[in-house]
């Protein structure tokens, strides 16, 4: 079976947020919805100071709490393990938003233009693919992946920090990186099986980064 997964090398990440902005633009998101985030945290004292970054979005959990929490079955998993939301079935109850430990889901309360002046021609072209009062999140760019392309955040990363591929294919980049044994997931002590892995040799506390907010 194919199991799509992603690895993110935090030693390479420079925190530029090309991933997040690219995600928003590719997915044509309403102002009140974002799928991709980068948390950052400064530590130490000058000159022994550093800044760590944690880019994150939906972890594409193997055993997705959001899916379990969904009362209508709108949240489902594709054969490749990608967690998606069916906007025709979603009732916008936000049970999944509460269930998600990673803050990856947002309710599209309304389709809100990103400019105060109203929808741009770009938004007029992309907003019809979204539905108000449904919940949205990262889809691993399921549309691009179906065409054999990489998710936007992977393709655009100026530091080449991200890889995407089939975790079940031992020959894929992601499977090799995970097999090296230095791949971690956020909140690892929960023993959740996730599809997004972080690698780093430096001293980085990804759980603290995840909870520290923006």
């Amino acid at each position: 079976m194919t199991h799509y997964g992603m690895t993110i090398d935090l030693d390479r990440c420079v925190g530029c947020r090309a991933c997040s902005v690219g995600c928003t633009m590719h997915n044509g998101l309403s102002k009140n919805v974002r799928y991709s985030f980068v948390n950052e945290q400064e530590s130490g004292a000058f000159p022994d100071v550093k800044v760590d970054y944690l880019p994150h979005a939906c972890m594409q959990c193997v055993d997705a709490l959001c899916m379990a929490a969904c009362p209508t079955g709108a949240t489902y998993q594709t054969d490749e393990g990608v967690v998606l939301v069916d906007p025709e079935t979603c009732i916008g109850c936000q049970s999944c938003v509460t269930a998600c430990p990673y803050g990856a889901r947002t309710l599209v309360s309304e389709l809100e233009p990103n400019h105060e002046e109203g929808e741009t021609a770009y938004e007029e072209a992309v907003f019809p693919y979204h539905k108000a009062n449904t919940v949205e999140k990262c889809t691993f760019c399921y549309d691009r992946v179906a065409l054999g392309e990489q998710p936007v955040c992977v393709a655009t990363c100026p530091a080449h920090a991200r890889r995407f591929g089939d975790l079940d294919d031992p020959g894929s980049d992601v499977a090799k990186i995970v097999a090296e044994g230095n791949a971690h997931t956020v909140f690892e002590s929960n023993n959740m099986a996730l599809s997004v892995y972080y690698t780093y040799e430096k001293d980085i506390d990804i759980d603290a980064l995840m909870t520290s907010g923006e």
């Binding site: 420079v14 530029c16 000058f46 193997v62 209508t72 054969d79």
Partner: protein, 759 residues
Amino acid sequence: MDLTRRQFAALASSAAGAAALGMAGCSPSKGDADSESSDEHAEYRTPVSEGNITKVRTACGNCHNNCGMIANVKDGVIVSLEGDPEHPHGKGSLCPKGQAFLDVVYAPDRVTKPLKRAGERGEGKWEEMEWDEALDYIAERLTDIKENYGPEYLCYSNGAPVQNIVRNAFWEFYARFGTPNQAAVPNLCFVPRLVALNTTYGFRNEDDYNNADFIILWGSNPFASMRPSSFMCYERKGCLSSLIDAMDRGVDVVVIDPICSETANKATTWIPIRPGTDGAMALAMIYTVIKEDLYDHDFVEQWCQGFDELSAFIEQHTPEWAEAETDVAAQTIADLARSYATTPRATIHDGNNFALQTNCVQATRAIAILEAITGHLDVEGGNCCFPDVIGNPKAVEMGNSAGIKTTVTVDTPPLASKYYPMLASGMPATLKAIETGESYVPKAMMMYHTNGAITQAQPQRTIELLRKLDFIVVNDLFITETALQLADVFIPDCTFLERYDYRTYPSAQGTVVTLRQQAIEPRDGIMNTYDFEYALAERMGLAEGYPWTNQEEFITYAFTPCGLTFEDLKANPTQIVGTHEYRKYETGGLRPDGEPGFNTPDGKVDLVNLAFKKNGYDPLPAYVPPAASKSAHPDVAEQYPLVGINRRVVYYAHFKYRNNPYLREVRPDPVVLMNPADAEARSLADGSWIKLTSPFGEAKFLLQVSERVTAGVLWVDGGWGDPWDYEDSNLNVLVDGTDLDPVSQSPSLHSFLVEASKA
């Protein structure tokens, strides 16, 4: 649930999974397990999944890097932009600015009709004009000025050449009109360094990061500027990968910077230095190299001029002397000099910090000399003259940093050459001429893609002086502060996605040539700049023999030297032209005459700078403390004890596009970083608005208390001050607009004296 065996096993083996299964058991769909199969759900629909998308290969035009880009166009509207995976430089990567650019195209506040000022300058009252009407009006006013005063009374100001068209627009027109007077931004860019490098060894070097075993990033922050997109990373994609890969293979990447910048944060070694003292450190490195006999004897004897004078000059510049000036330990300086000199494949990148100091040209001279005497010029892993860098005689295009070659040459000396003979094209020199009336005060200015009113130090002074001009045309996308305060006529511009353009990139594999393709029709019929320029030339009787008449012909004209045509590039938008070899000084590849040596008056690396001598500047790189420092102005420093440093964040290029909500949301406010000790001493709270005050003005910033800066130093966001953002937060109001680098007119943007207080 439609679980695979693997998924089921993973699910059942975890506590959360058991909970998930239990909860699923309670869900309304319990009775029909198959209903959750993906087959049962509505298809995942996006513009991409629906198809009918035309992919147009082009190149980003937001900053100088010009990453290969694909515009995804559906029914005439761009629905997304992505990196071009086939472009050899970025290989598919784009930074946030590139990703977000499509909003600029469709922004609600974009101007689409020519405007004529209807109130006073600064009032923001405009009347719409038809395109013909605007062209007639400008032609009439310019003809009037030419006939009554002379063509040199027109000045022109093209902005930072983030696209080649920004560099090239109207150049043929200005030449035919007959004015030599440029009043632009080279003093804020790499051009000051170019003056130092060109006169020392004849070219603008590029770093061979892919082959280097030792890398010094001096006053350079590529992890925020994304500058290495200028380079090809051979192994991996991504414009930063050449540097990150170097660290992965064990290369020491040393960052010299007062601040823990984005790059210092990731570098293997970070050497904090006192702001503006880099020249002193470079001299002490030369001292160590010469005194410890670490220089390349063969190279110095055969290819350098002035080594004896340099050796005598360097005597007093010991690492101990530099330690007192720079706050960098003498041992650190000497060790760095040793490591650099003894690593054959080593490179130094001189960054923009040098261009934004009042002593930047001589500091760059010192670094250039260091590169030369250690034998690191144009060798593998060193500072190379790649194809297409400025100074490489094998040009593929009709232009260089100074703009496109014109068919007419203007013989009149530029107005500002009286003050700055080696770099007359900066705005400050023209402002000085306006202020003093010497030699004359220009009457008109055409400004293209530049926010010149507020990009220079002391913007209020700039505005007051430029308002003395009778007629100002501003050509841009938005009513910037410059348009608001100065324009008599505003001409809307096309974005780079609405017209053609090109870019040439240096690399060790040859010159990469990319056609920047037009992806969509210009919004609301906006005239592209090529057509506008030609139409203006026609109206003024200057069009006969014009080397092109439209944008397609312009592209073919621009590539005359290599013979590529618009049609060639349409068929294959990214091509590699020519080849590269190292040590071209041995083979004649560095000089237009094909003789061995360097492209300097004597064919040597001029350690003693002959061009500087001729123009009355110190031919040796004597260190002068930065203008805004305790040593230069102890009285000012007592009242304004903090040193501010201009910050450029990755989300914005220069002053541009803070009206783009997709970028603004990641950097909503102008921020200043201050050490906790300084904040505490002034009772300033993290997250509060504070006021920075200097002898020249005051500006407000959001305080971020941070250990990334040492006590006494502030890292201040630059680039704010347009009508749609924080007009009171332009750091240029804090900076002296008249105490400048004597060669390059560079202000103290990277070390200005301020005091901080509650806003």
